[in-house]
Symmetry: C2
Subunit: 340 residues, 2 copies
């Protein structure tokens, strides 16, 4: 039973000290004047390491150096398609940058979010990417305050000093509304919900701003109490009765329920009422080429967030100043393409 081979084995076989092996393996400052290892020694060590497929023990490394090369990601729900896709991109980035990712879901529950963060911190992560939920500000604040690099994703907490990567939801909403106006619709309403989170609030103000800009004073934002199907259905039916020409749904789940209501009651797009939303779904692509939606730059979300986070990790002084990255939205019509 040959057990795992260690740095000592390599050092012995290469005829050098463990320190040298460590220097070579973690080729810190390689190329700089600081890196002082004779090329032939380096070659010898590398050869031995390769021969035994030596990989430094990450626990030992983490224990000694305090670097984990692990990122914690807390989403509201990883089974939500949007977050699942972001997770995929984050994982991909991490894989290519020698990081490893822990995923957790908050269920939109601040207590759960706080617990998951604690578990991650305790487990040892160098930083966290968080999709904040309603009421999670203090927990996140505490975590960031304890020195943990944190980047908010998708949603920002207005007024709070966190680094974040979010879509320009305001602009997206403006473009979307203007597009609808451009198609000749005048009676446009929005279905949203009561929240303090930035992404939704920005979508609301974008709508109002664009309506005002178009000289349309008749605006309306519905904010159902529980956001369940019955409420959404009621709003849709009511809108139809009042001859609303277009409905904008601000969340993925509500837009799914909205589509269901449309279909159940035979509302056709675009003839009866136009349908616009902020996240695409297979369901829409498949059946309705005339839906307007915001194309989320999934990969960019992941890359920007990870890059920013890693920078904060590596340059603690930069971690103090908070950086807000705002991604450009793209508003498109459902492509009718099936992506597989």
């Amino acid at each position: 039973m040959k057990s795992r081979i260690t740095i000592t084995d390599i050092a012995k076989e290469a005829g050098v000290s463990t320190a040298l092996v460590s220097f070579v393996m973690s080729n810190k400052a390689k190329g700089s004047r600081e890196y002082r290892v004779r090329p032939e020694t380096e070659k010898r060590v590398l050869e031995v390491a390769a021969k035994y497929d030596y990989q430094p023990n990450s626990s030992a490394r983490a224990l000694r150096s305090g670097e984990y090369r692990t990122i914690g990601v807390v989403l509201s729900d990883i089974s939500n398609k949007f977050y699942a896709e972001i997770s995929r991109q984050i994982e991909n980035w991490a894989f290519h940058h020698d990081y490893v990712v822990l995923f957790g879901s908050s269920d939109e529950n601040p207590k759960k979010l706080s617990n998951v963060m604690k578990v991650f911190k305790n487990k040892g992560v160098d930083g966290m990417i968080i999709v904040p939920c309603e009421g999670s500000e203090s927990a996140i604040s505490q975590m960031a305050g304890s020195g943990m690099p944190v980047v908010l994703l998708d949603r920002d907490i207005p007024g709070a000093e966190f680094s974040s990567v979010v879509l320009n939801n305001f602009k997206a909403s403006v473009i979307m509304t203007e597009t609808l106006v451009g198609k000749g619709f005048r009676k446009i309403e929005m279905i949203s919900y009561k929240t303090t989170l930035s992404n939704i609030k920005d979508r609301e103000s974008g709508y109002l701003k664009a309506m005002e800009g178009a000289g349309l004073t008749e605006t309306r934002i519905h904010r159902p109490e529980y956001c369940n199907y019955r409420e959404i259905e009621q709003i849709v039916l009511d809108a139809k009765a009042r001859n609303v020409e277009a409905l904008i749904f601000t969340t993925y789940n509500m837009s799914l329920m909205g589509r269901k209501a449309f279909i159940s009651h035979g509302l056709r797009v675009p003839q009866d009422c136009f349908f616009a939303c902020f996240n695409n779904s297979d369901a829409f692509d498949l059946y309705e080429p005339d839906i307007l939606y915001v194309k989320q730059p999934i990969e960019q979300f992941a890359v920007e967030a990870m890059t920013l986070l890693v920078k904060m990790i590596n340059e603690p002084e930069s971690a103090q100043s908070c950086t807000k990255i705002i991604l450009q939205p793209e508003v498109v019509f459902s492509s009718s393409e099936v992506h597989v």
Copy 2:
């Protein structure tokens, strides 16, 4: 700048040795005769630990004990809805059992799968849950052979001695086919693809078996070369021309393309041709209450796999014998319910 507090701090404050603190914290064999700590001492240690919110450093613990309390999960693609939902359940189970989960995607590429497994092993996981892909047998074999507990999920590799948790795909396919026969269809065909993976092969044999059982000799399994939309579309159109009464799609992606083809060419379900598949989609629920599909027991997948894996981790002797868990399928009609 107060740094992380350690076991030594706790020991000092409680006036005991670090060993004692360790005993108390990891209350091994609590209750058994082995656990020899005076209750009042234990209480004192616990109080001090609570006071400082002490959490043992997991790197140090892992380094010394070899236990990571971390599971590696390698799926084909975490952004695939089915796997995203499984991930959610796995994460949930882990959270409640004090484990943490690393997720990775193989992209159905055995080389990538092998790399991700290596990264996970090197990072330190106690065991892995793997969705194998075509050609990954040797890599998984090697990993399992090196002593790493491994449980296959969703797909099994026929003939290989791996523990696994899979659906009874054969039975699902039989039920599905019988249901279609029961609805009066006789000309039923299947759209599958060339593979060695168990789940697909079982679906094929289930279909053939049920058809034979019903005395229907006219069977046909299509196996498109590249499984792209053009091929699927062609098969669907051809089937329509030949008055095929029902089509069974064996994979999620192909069923999406199939639906697309149905819709593009105005085929209605059930009037023109019936549609059956093995994974539900939002898209189907939303628009077609008459689709037949296999309801995958998502939570059971996760719970069974994790339970089995943890058992293998904790009882190395049991890890030798391979356990195959077969989950019961449920075949249902698209519910027309929107789940949010």
